[in-house]
């Protein structure tokens, strides 16, 4: 018996460069809506909220905070990824992104940017991951 046959595809475009703020407003049809949410970091540099951006609370929830915001702040006493926040709060990623945008603006939480694949991969990062996996 022979397996079914597939045909290889070619890249449609050059490898996407590391995410850059200049790319954000250009809605070319490729960029999904959730990418249009932008957060402002401490240094004023804009960054997208990724599924694996780590969020840490900077303060206790203020009395004025909405219940969802308070819950988010409370579960982020230790760093937590956006995906985990979505899972624990039982809210879609897009809703969590909106909540986070507000909380970041109010400086109630801090975001730690994810490690992303670069055009030139970071060998020391890959080596660290391999070393970590070996211990599993």
């Amino acid at each position: 018996m022979t397996p079914p046959q597939r045909q290889r595809r070619q890249p449609k475009h050059e490898p996407s460069p590391p995410f850059h703020e200049d790319d954000l407003p250009s809605v070319t049809g490729e960029r999904p809506p959730e990418r249009l949410y932008i957060l402002t970091g401490e240094d004023g540099e804009r960054a997208p909220i990724d599924l694996v951006t780590l969020i840490v609370a900077r303060a206790d929830p203020p009395p004025s905070a909405a219940p969802e915001q308070s819950a988010l702040i409370r579960i982020c006493q230790a760093p937590l990824s956006v995906a985990e926040i979505s899972a624990y709060l039982n809210l879609p990623i897009s809703v969590v992104t909106v909540l986070l945008t507000e909380l970041l603006t109010a400086e109630l939480v801090q975001a730690r940017a994810p490690v992303v694949r670069q055009a030139r991969a970071d060998r020391s990062l890959l080596e660290a991951v391999m070393h970590g996996l070996q211990k599993l």
């Binding site: 045909q7 290889r8 490690v115 996996l133």
Partner: protein, 206 residues
Amino acid sequence: MDFKSSDTITGPRTEDHLPHTAQAAAKIVIVGGFGVGKTTMVGSVSEIRPLTTEETMTQAGIGVDDNFGSKSKTATTVAMDFGRISITDQLVLYLFGTPGQERFWFLWNGLFEGALGAVVLVDTRRLEVSFDVMGRLEERNVPFVVAVNDFPDAPRYAIEELRQALDLAEEIPIIRCDARRRASSRDVLMTLMSFLHSLAMSGASA
């Protein structure tokens, strides 16, 4: 939208807390059709019980769901399971198990942005369900390895036969695995990381 009162939100268990030193996270994506073992693989290596995140697809699914002529927008909820591995006190790795079906592809846009790489999990009983997924990764230049989840009653093809059937370049690793076993799933991830490392090395010397 239903939101549980903040008093009922439990959040992570104490033992699932990341250390405050955790500075950054990276992600790997495990793709494949339904029932191929994505969640099993995520669960076998994850340090936390796999969690589920979801997204609601409405207009974001344009061109995916053929709703032309229908009066109301349909909203579909798509779930994705994921797990976590702490690499060091500073670095965390997340694994996302993602359905390979066409109607879920909108989810990938955000997901693959920045992913280190992908594992395509295949079942030799339904090899063709992974074809589109692989094509999609190739088009997006996301490096991937192929892991064959060995089901007992599945046809066993030689690796070279699979390579030919999947039209994979010589350098792309294909390995057999048992997604239920931690060591086996870890080996798959290790294979992906070695492959990414070799790509980085060849890129550096070019």
